[in-house]
Symmetry: C2
Subunit: 457 residues, 2 copies
């Protein structure tokens, strides 16, 4: 790659941060209906930026939900085509009082930029936009054909994406998909991720009585839905952290011995990990290490609870209803629909007849695992090495990017997970942040990635 592209990138670091701040200022929270206009505004901002950096055929494509942003540059005759996928929507920000600086007023402290969406995923999208800009401004062309495809519903389960990809199969056709929406293994340890967990997300609603009741006058005479919810949840895992849903583990692909050996060699400091999280003790499924639990084993999690009186002080009430948000993370070869059905059957079995239980399937996503000796993954490894000055490790990730399975299934192409976040960057939590040196190295690595992919003729 010509030096002047790296020079250009290094010269414009400050400008990149200022531009990124504008992007992060848009509260594109897809989960909250009141932010609908912001979500659209964010799509428009993304499109304008693509236009500005020199991409072609820029457009918003409407879906039944939030618009998709599309652009391409297809002038690299004979070179492969990469499809870059990202999402411009972000998570909600509650509890907002736990943010040190306002979530949509990006603030740089100690080389990190704090804002909702900084790591997940606007910062990582922007890294690619700046790498594309550097090529187009300095070389006048890209070394690989690029299609950009940025959606606005990832944080609410990408519910219209599957259909969109099917309906735009020809427009999205490519040789490889590149996604930057995951953390690297650790600070200073860049990585290429070759496996993701899937997801099955539910809301449980329990109704005991028509209205809230005085717990003095009625306590002892009726089932308490908040207590019943506790009873139901408690039956989901045993003391050893193993999920008790009948059939839950049937399709779990066992960890290969080589994989376990390889992961044991990774520089993972369990003590520091625990301390960083502030947990009194780590806890997970008996018989597995922490990395194995997070990367290669399914789990059952409670994401939210709500019932009765939750204000300051005391209110002696038997709540009429109790609600939980729960989700299961899945690993190959579990199927989210099948697991959802097993869960429904199990809840039906364990729930008492004293209450009404309603289960709502919120969303699901398939787990994914790549063949990591394919040539695109290897090209990505070389680009990371040039951007970060060291060769990457190969790991899996505990999170879910359901679209990866869709791309495999519908477009028939592999994905490369080219993430430059860090595991402690509070994606989905207060004080989300992105390390700016990783961002700047990432822009260089992305510029090299395009060149490496362009060589694979």
């Amino acid at each position: 790659m010509t030096n002047n592209i790296v020079d250009f990138i290094n010269l414009h670091r400050d400008r990149y941060v200022e531009e990124l701040k504008s992007y992060l200022a848009i509260p594109s929270i897809s989960a909250l209906p009141q932010h609908q206009p912001d979500v659209r505004r964010c799509a428009e901002w993304t499109a304008q930026e693509l236009e500005r950096i020199g991409m072609q055929n820029v457009r918003l494509i409407e879906t039944p939900g939030n618009p998709v942003v599309y652009a391409d540059w297809l002038g690299a005759a004979g070179a492969p085509t990469m499809l870059f996928y990202g999402h411009y929507d972000v998570q909600p920000v509650d509890p907002v009082d736990q943010w040190t600086s306002p979530p949509f007023d990006a603030t740089v402290r100690d080389g990190e930029i704090y804002a909702r969406g900084s790591a997940d995923d606007k910062g990582q999208i922007f890294m690619h936009l700046k790498a594309i800009e550097a090529w187009l401004k300095q070389a006048g062309s890209l070394p690989v054909n690029i299609k950009v495809f940025i959606e606005g519903e990832e944080e609410v389960g990408s519910k219209h994406l599957d259909q969109f990809v099917r309906e735009h199969k020809d427009q999205l056709a490519a040789d490889v998909v590149v996604i930057s929406d995951s953390p690297m293994f650790d600070r200073g340890i860049p990585s290429i991720c070759y496996g993701l967990r899937g997801l099955a997300y539910f809301q449980i609603d329990i109704r005991g009585t028509k209205t809230d009741l005085h717990s003095g006058s009625f306590g002892g005479a009726v089932a308490n839905p908040a207590f019943v919810l506790g009873q139901i949840l408690a039956q989901m895992k045993d003391k050893g952290g193993r999920v008790k849903i009948a059939g839950f583990y049937d399709d779990v692909r066992p960890l290969r011995e080589e994989e376990r050996e390889q992961w044991k060699r990774l520089p993972f400091n369990e003590k520091r990990y625990r301390k960083d999280l502030g947990a009194p003790k780590l806890f997970g499924e008996r018989g597995y290490t922490t990395l194995e639990r997070v990367w290669a084993r399914p789990t059952f999690e409670v994401n939210g609870l709500l019932a009765g009186f939750t204000g300051e002080g005391a209110k002696t009430v038997i709540p009429a209803t109790a609600m939980a948000k729960i989700s299961m993370r899945l690993v190959p070869d579990q199927d989210p629909d099948k697991v959802a059905t097993l869960f429904e059957a199990y809840v039906k079995k364990v729930a008492p007849k004293t209450v009404e239980v309603t289960l709502t399937r919120m969303h699901g996503g398939k787990p994914w695992m790549a063949d990591f000796d394919n040539r695109y993954v290897q090209a990505a490894g070389r680009a990371i090495e040039q951007g970060f000055g060291k060769s990457p490790v190969f790991n899996r990730e505990g999170g879910s990017i359901p679209v990866v399975s869709t791309f495999q299934e519908v477009l028939g192409v592999p994905s490369v997970l080219f993430g430059i976040g860090l595991p402690d960057e509070n994606a989905h939590a207060p004080n989300e942040k992105l390390d700016l040196s990783n961002f700047h190295n990432g822009v260089i690595a992305a510029a090299f990635l395009y060149e490496e992919l362009g060589k694979l003729r």
Copy 2:
């Protein structure tokens, strides 16, 4: 009693309702700091009304919390002195969207007045004020000496009351306490209540990690505090509804056989009760009837739950913290402090070391039981018969009025529970209401009560 007092009462029914509406319009919610000024305004309104109806020595007495309203009329030479106790504060109104009419804009529908505080306790206080007014306006005097003592912290555990009664022991000295803050047995079945349950109320806070975590990246590696909360709660009761806290039942006074026989003869329709509550099925401690469970057996209840994401949609988060409000209703001879200590020890035993658990004692109250053949209780029975046209049944109540134990202990006097609410009047729930015919009969019964008590020289 002279007919002209009953005539006066019957003549002023409409005015009573209009005046009661003004009283109910004051949102005197003691649990919510932002309603502090309303609470004080309500105390002042009560004092002005006492002044207006002709009571003497009317004053607000400051406490470290909300003021107490005091008044007396001590001109019945040779007659006993009754201390009337009530509370002018009310419960919070959430969920406010479930109210058919606004909670502080009292509305009459089908002979019932709907408003927060209508049954608990402003309506029942007002019944006495109107009976006192009728005597003073028509006879120019009361047949019994009356001290009025109305507090403003009952709904937050009467936390300064105990000390107040001790410090004002001489001022409050009386022969009998009259309290109207409980329901009658059923519509058309007036009753005198001779037993109440006690209370031990806690908040449990569980912390897993420093911040909320992405449930993909960390799910499986750390204990989930919302799940642990479910596990802890589930261990509080067995499948038969029996509380599992070690030592919990040690001091429970067994039900007497006569009492069980007597209650079996009460016109209690379990089918209608279940239907009115809208419960799929009744549920409680094995081996006891519904009335026994509510009146004479202790219980463990979850009053509130809060953790993680509770909005619309899905958020894949492991909450950093989870909170529950819980309370235990106690029966003679359980002691709230002793039970609280047993509970703390049990939680400590069952909670895993993977989380930090904080228990906060919110408030407590002793259970109470009267000797129901004492002459004050019998006098109250005669007054009820004259107001309602039928003799009352004698029952216990599942709720708690901790001050009853305080009066017994500090003033050494028995209480008479002279309640005219109904069990389905939604005290502590949306759409609280009071039956106006019970209110009007109650004013007449109270007027007779003063006469009956005055005869006990």
